[in-house]
Point group: D2
Chain length 345, copies 4
């Protein structure tokens, strides 16, 4: 049993992480921090966990956390995570960070999209935790930067095309739609039921912070710089991201050829499922699971490929992927604690 702590457990990512870790056969959760709810039992904060845990939220410092856990999951807001992670590492602990703080390798890029960084020297060291694409770097890391939800869906949707040089990289248009849990559990008017329900909108058009993260990953795969147009939208559902990605094919191709390519690319991946021709991903088919479902279609009239990915943003887009990275770090089979099938309907 590995002793782990969760710092920042009062949000949707935090509670989902707790749910997965409490059900993980190799994990003992020894410490949960949530400053504003310190003293409150986790099961009072989240009655979904009633009867399944006696953990109580604490307000302790990183040093105290490090003394009680071998590995720490940080589910804190960006800018806050970077304050607690250096002391955790210094105490010899490994960290899986679910914030955006260590995802971008270049300090200048981080600063232009997020603001000042307190430990830029760690950026180059952190392993970007997308196992399907960067498994090897992750295994030995002491700091894993768990990817953003949108970037996870986009990278998995496009990796085979980019890696094989099949698309015009300047033609990439990414239209993503996310469930509302992605906006967090903060009390904001814009996240109220009546504002979101029966509504749909784009937001942060041409300015969303996941843009450089998407470009960094695609650039790594392409071996050259990539610039994309990325538009997120807010869906009136709790969970799920569907990303519809458009690119021009460099050579004519058909749907069957690309499906074969994808099937080969993800042959051994337990969490990537490719929809056969005539079937398409739906966030309803991945809800509650760590799956990323993919669909690929060529539009012969325009020579474009439309690659679609669906994930549960709180699982493959956050907590589940963090557990997958945890399994990698600890040498457990990657699916340990992540075998739950999608909850449909």
């Amino acid at each position: 049993m590995i002793k782990v702590a969760v710092m920042g457990a009062s949000g949707y990512t935090g509670v989902e992480l707790l749910r997965l870790l409490l059900g993980h056969p190799q994990v003992e959760v020894t410490c949960v921090t949530a400053r504003q709810n310190a003293g409150e039992p986790v099961a009072a904060l989240f009655p979904s966990l009633l009867g399944r845990t006696d953990l109580v939220c604490e307000a302790v410092e990183p040093e105290a956390v490090a003394a009680r856990a071998e590995l720490i999951f940080t589910a804190l807001p960006h800018q806050t995570a970077q304050e607690v992670i250096p002391p955790l590492l210094q105490a010899g602990r490994r960290v899986i960070d679910l914030s955006a703080d260590y995802r971008l390798r270049q300090p200048a890029l981080y600063e232009s999209w997020y603001g000042r960084h307190g430990s830029p020297q760690l950026l180059a060291e952190a392993a970007y935790g997308l196992p399907e694409l960067f498994r090897e770097r992750i295994s030995g890391a002491r700091l894993v930067a768990n990817p953003g939800c949108y970037p996870t869906s986009v990278a998995l949707a496009l990796a085979p095309l980019v890696k094989h040089g099949l698309i015009d990289l300047s033609s990439l248009v990414i239209d993503s739609k996310s469930g509302t849990s992605g906006a967090g559990r903060g009390a904001k008017v814009g996240s109220l039921f009546c504002e979101v329900n029966e509504g749909f909108k784009a937001y942060s058009v041409a300015s969303h912070r996941h843009t450089p993260e998407i470009e960094q990953t695609l650039g790594d795969l392409a071996g050259e710089e990539v610039t994309v147009t990325f538009t997120p939208h807010l869906l009136p559902v709790n969970r799920g991201i569907l990303s519809t990605c458009y690119a021009s094919l460099r050579q004519p191709g058909d749907t069957g050829q690309l499906l074969a390519l994808y099937r080969d690319f993800y042959r051994d991946e337990p969490f990537v499922r490719l929809h056969p021709a005539g079937s398409l991903p739906n966030i309803a088919y991945v809800r509650g699971s760590n799956f990323c479902d993919l669909g690929v279609t060529v539009d012969p009239r325009t020579g474009r490929v439309i690659a679609i990915a669906a994930i549960d943003n709180l699982i493959k887009g956050a907590a589940g992927q963090a557990v997958q990275n945890f399994n990698l770090l600890c040498g457990f089979p990657e699916t340990t604690g992540l075998a739950a099938m999608p909850v449909y309907p």
Copy 2:
């Protein structure tokens, strides 16, 4: 590993049963029938199961099913279940029936609410599969009648009060609200998204078929006949039932006393969770789990008790309870394959 079959897998109860059984460590699903989808892979019918099963829907007869499975789950419409179950039993198989066909013990009662019954002689034999209340009869049964979703929630909400004779049985008013999966996967205008979403209504007022089932169970607990007013409503959610039950207390009492009584009554039940004073059940807290959450409040101004139960209608209200009964029949710990925590949000 127990070889099991699922007859009638094309509905929401069927697919939920498959999901649970495919994840059950002691089960091998050897046969799935769905007459109208015969020949179709289960994962094509339900892409949520993509990559997790190669089972194909079949149209075989009960005899052929009995030859391939030790125990059969029947998730067929009432009136249809009673056609396939007698031959299954005759072939020496045990059956857990999720239809209404064997829930009412008295043939005349069945006929007045559902119509003619083809094997009324089995009604007295069938064990009513509500483990928390009738565990002993279930263990040795060859035919288990899995309870209806509404009756499960109502029986668990009221059992401590009825069993202890604390309420005026003539005062029972039960106001229940169910998610739309309870209406099944049939293509009906009334179940269309646009008809249900942003809507809410009562239906089958004073005439719902679960009424006699509720009365039978409460009557068994009370040791006398019980008649109730039961009103179901349709909720614009996929899953969940919340039943709000009203009754007049025979003697003055307060919330604390009743909570203590409930805590004692359900002390050893792994799937019943009692909300402490000041907290109330919400279907969101049980979604995806086999839990039944209870809340009890006394209204001192009127002398009534309000007992509230929340379940996931497809799990504790159907497929999960069936697996719980299966565990009882097979001597497995009752929670085997049912440990999933609620998926929130």
Copy 3:
């Protein structure tokens, strides 16, 4: 054209009131207050009104408002409304108050449910603004207390039964379900999309503040004191209240007789619609309109009547009823500005 002001326009009731008043042929809205949004154009706060109004939110005092409007709608929180209304009345203005501050006639009752009252002497004077039941008192009033959303639905559902003495008043159980706009536009975790969507719960069991208001109205109709059990629930929809009301009939009766009684009782009411036998109200059928839809069923097995009312909580339960009262005060036909048909689906 009557010059009117709306005080407290930043909530859901406020914006609905503005929508109705901007479309009212006899109204000119001259002043809108919303302290925290002072200086902001109404159409920036509520883009649904883009292009339809140039009004700007103001932070002015009651005296300034009184100088610019003949009649003022106050859509402020309770306890706040009572601070601005006395000066408005003193300036000779008529007021329609959408808060709870002047609904209860007895100061002690108000104080036990809401807290201290700053102008208890006005309680007896205020007219309770439920036109279908108290039309005459409203017409001449200078202060109208616009009813609560739940009490409106319950009073209209039960009035014919209570007025005709047909039910045992001690048997009243009222199970109500409200859309989330009833919880207001405040940024609270409990009103977040992910907390409400796919959820359903009871709240304020045996303690909701609309209880004494319901009892006051039913008591007025009965001519004696009435005590009820009232349980509100939170529905995952934007708009709508459905109240399911249970009572024991004093004499045996059938559905047809009661439908005839209701038809007669509401014969000339433009906003009350009675569903014929076999049809039941649904909040989806009243959305966007000032209608109150009613359904009545007798349960012959228990001798209870189940009376159901559906309204749009923001219209007949708040802003629409306020406009109906406005029409009464001004001598306009009661349906002026309220003719919109329900928006379905």
Copy 4:
């Protein structure tokens, strides 16, 4: 008062048309056909209209309809509309057709996307009923082809850019999302609440029948052939379409310049609202109204423009636009009967 008939009133477009026409001050609805519901009162089929109409569905033939109405709205499925429209025109009646049957001018194009056409000679005569772009041709027409919902949103989003030659026409990518009422009121498993709710998917990728209609309109505006990639998605909401349109600018430009261009282009249009910089359309802000809300943003990093349109698919995307065309045909102000403000929340 103009006597009008509605043929095919049992679907969502039909009932919305009835709602608008019953509230139109210059209209008398004299005949409603719905073959499968013949004999049924409209208000029984759609209880939202209870108390507002005594019309009864009929199964009469076009000749009988023509005898009772001056102008006929046909809300029939494509392929069916083309059977009833020629006799209506022959009887000297004007027709506004809400099906797809007369939208495409070229018979070969219609046949390749929809199948055989029974009256191809009328295709050239029919006026495409998008008033903001083709007002003049509509006024004098005897047959108006009311545009598709997706094409309406896309054409209004892109018209200023295309008309002014500002974008590379080969770069057009259109990602649209529609509420479920767009799928009609037919009883299909794919439209069930539990299939749509909490789900989101693309469908008809690279093959949706609205593609040629979009291309025809943009081609008319551009004066050259246009080919687009168009991907529709299904939103879990009742009403609303949001189309996110991407194109590469031919010359560098900024958001401010394009907003000015749009403002000028739609200066006198009562139903087009342009969101100012920093604000974006949301289907929630147009629900229940005939508005088309637009937002325009330039992505300076990629040189693309993102133009977004939001409409209520049943109003501006169907019934409302039909009434707008009706007003044009009859010489009424275009906003007659269409003044309703959006119903928010």
